[in-house]
Amino acid sequence: MKTTVFSAKKIVTMNPQKPEASHVAIREGRILAVGSLEEIATWGDYELDERFADKVLFPGLVEGHAHTMEGTLWRYVYCGYFDRMDPNGKTWKGNKSIEDVLASLSAAEALLEDPDAPLTGWQLDPIYLDNKPITRAQLDSVSATRPIGVMNASGHILYVNTKALELAGLMKSGVNHPGISLGNDGMPMGELKGPDAMTPVGEHVGLNRSMTDSDERGLRDFARLCVRTGVTTVTDLAARLEPDGVETMLRVTGEPNFPACVVPLRFFLGLPPKELIPEVARLKKLSTDRLSLGRIKVVADGSIQGFSARMRWPGYHNGAPNGLWYISPEQMQEIYELALAEGIQVHTHTNGDQATQLAIEKLELALKKVPSNDHRFVLQHCQLADRAQFKKMAALKMSVNLFANHHFYWGDEHYRLTVGPDRALRMNATRTALDCGVPMTIHSDAPVTPLGPLFTAWCAVNRLTASGRTQGEHEKITVDEALWAVTMGAAHTLHMDGQIGSIEIGKRADFAVLESDPREAEPEKLKDVEVWGTVQGGRVFAAADA
């Protein structure tokens, strides 16, 4: 049995028993020992690897809410407002105006050889571009002859050109749909809101019907982004997990150089609860070291900025009607009860505080029928929960994954428009969650915002919005707390805290290899800590080679 010992400038363990060390021994992809070389030598022969002599080894970062489809999206034209790094490590400049967006699209268009090939863009966010949707006429200026579609950063709006509308048969007057705005000429303007408005056009602009599933190349590209951001375990939070998809994921993650452990959650739609739970129990048994199956994702409501989240009184700040349920309360409880009985973990998307309240109440009822001491049910996003709700969650042993990045990207909108000043301050209440004793992690929801747990930690520590305001001073957490959240906190929410999240004997040899110790970073510089790469299951992956 070969033992490799890495020396490092410093090893930060996240294990309170031994917070720092100089050496770590790896055997069979797991951590054999952490400490001084003398302590480690007691295990017998080893091979000393000093390549990290000037690096800091940190527990591999864990992203508890992302979607692997980001890997696929990078094959389209990046139209976002902020600079963003692609899987190759290239940072694409943000598009600061509609003209920039059109220029990015035109540059990509010029490279297409097939005159009929669609041109696809992603991550457009008109909120930053004077809050005006990009129009059909503007996209026609890029090309009038090939179909063009650009996805909104939310993934729930598509902007298309005239050709795309023609191909879908929608370039006509008399279209009557709340998701399709019409111009003065009575024709669609090119903005398509919601999946039902998007789908008829999507396939003509290069977006297939099951785009939430990343394909093989997308999965590999996404894993390269993980290496660049120090992530060794990443969730795919709403996977359909049909037989083909599971086979693909097993095969690709099983490739010798696949650098991450992927944790796909089975999306709740598609099977009635009585069939869903046994199916997920079956999937759980297929798990490998790099594909951890056997969890369920339930979606309770929509999004706050889309006004489809379910809000308690007094509702939306701008008077919009309450949002939509994506599951009935009865069905939520049925899934909870069946999953508890089978020991299957359920993660529930709740954005609005009414959705959070429903999930709490339904779990409480379910636990009365099916008691469980360690169910690890998690609320995902949970952006508007108040102190009373966090206390109740703690009492029920629920965990939470708060959307710290959202606060930075859309906090100003929430303050101004969606929920108003009072509730904007308490959104993604990391301080309150910890004070109430709720195990907590924070997330990016990539591709909605960029993958990068150190950036996410920075968001929770500083609570800055994109305009530079500190929003919710009292909800800030410390650098140490934020770093715990993106390692042990996330591991807890996945019920993998025995295997990952700290550098500790018996755990998987998963490290983020950093240029400096993030605990010592100035809070406002936490996001700038450089990532050299990762070690995953004892295998070394340099970002430069990814």
Binding site: G169, L170, V175, N176, H177, P178, G179, I180, G194, P195, D196, A197, T199, P200, R209, R240, F268, L269, G270, L271, P272, P273, E275, L276, R310, P321, N322, L324, W325, Y326, I327, S328, P329, E330, Q331, Q354, L358
Partner: protein, 299 residues
């Protein structure tokens, strides 16, 4: 291009009886080829004796009907349906218990080859009034009712006659554009729920085996102002659940008239469509003489 497929939307909260109704429609399809789309977690709650064959995505049902489920993307399911070799006569969408029917209808209207043909909302006589004020789902239920062209009051046998009367009054406020009908054990006549098919007179003559509803055929002289007639037929005290037929308008064009509840639609008719308008309604609510008299004022 073939005529657009009519799509009937069946909504209503969990437990209101949507599945029972769908099974009843499949059982009484009587030669009409129905394509049923269900969205209750992908469950395909079709009575076993109706199933002829079951594939991965599609169930074949006696009489040429089919049933399939859709997840979060209805448009994709309808587009798949349009690619089937055997063309159905009619599409029935069974909504999820929390779906808003008007959103579904709007989505259907976007797709070439499909046309929304009525929204039927099932009402659980025992529980709906309580559910309509529930803190969590109350507004979902009231939004569903507002969208209804027809409300089907189910489980009326579990409450008193006085309760049903009170419920009907309540529904006139909550579902202002709907006609309300009482369904026995989740069963309502196919022609009422889905409309009268391609040839209304033929549908009418096939008879009303279940004896639950009545119908009349209005003769149509040439040069009819369809809009005036339609307005009369959709206003109180006339109580028509559905009507369909063909007439020649004042410009000599052959037109089709569709009525669902209080809503009507006039469109171009297929060539050689037989003249005449068939009106149907539930026994007890339907007054053929009144309809004839009202119509004659418009003719």
């Amino acid at each position: 291009m073939p005529e657009a497929l009519p799509v009937t939307i069946i909504g209503g909260y969990l437990g209101a009886g949507k599945t029972t109704l769908v099974n009843h429609l499949l059982r009484t399809a009587n030669g009409r080829k129905l394509a049923v789309l269900v969205n209750e977690f992908g469950a395909l709650p079709i009575d076993e004796d109706l199933i002829e064959a079951q594939g991965d995505d599609l169930i074949s049902i006696a009489g040429g009907c089919i049933c399939c489920s859709f997840g979060s993307d209805l448009s994709a399911a309808l587009m798949n349906l349009a690619e089937l070799k055997v063309r159905p006569d009619q599409v029935v969408i069974e909504c999820s218990g929390v779906a808003i029917p008007s959103a579904i209808a709007a989505s259907v209207s976007l797709l070439d080859g499909f046309v929304p043909d009525g929204t039927v909302v099932m009402v659980d006589a025992e529980t709906i009034q309580e559910a309509a004020v529930d803190e969590y789902i109350g507004d979902t239920i009231t939004r569903q009712l507002v969208d209804a062209d027809l409300t089907l009051i189910n489980k009326a046998d579990l409450v008193s006659a006085a309760h049903v009367t009170q419920l009907e009054t309540w529904l006139r406020t909550l579902a202002p554009s709907a006609r309300s009908l009482v369904a026995e054990h989740g069963k309502a006549p196919l022609d009422m729920v889905l409309g009268l098919g391609a040839n209304p007179r033929e549908s009418q003559q096939m008879g009303h085996a279940d004896g639950l509803f009545e119908s009349i055929a209005l003769p149509c002289p040439s040069s009819l102002n369809g809009e005036i007639l339609a307005r009369k037929l959709t206003s109180d005290p006339v109580h028509i659940a559905r009507a369909k037929g063909f007439f020649v308008d004042e410009l000599g064009a052959l037109k089709a008239l569709h009525i669902v509840g209080r809503r009507f639609d006039i469109s171009d008719a297929p060539e050689n469509a037989p003249l005449g308008i068939v009106c149907i309604g539930l026994k007890g609510q339907f007054d053929g003489d009144l309809i004839r008299k009202t119509a004659s004022e418009a003719l």
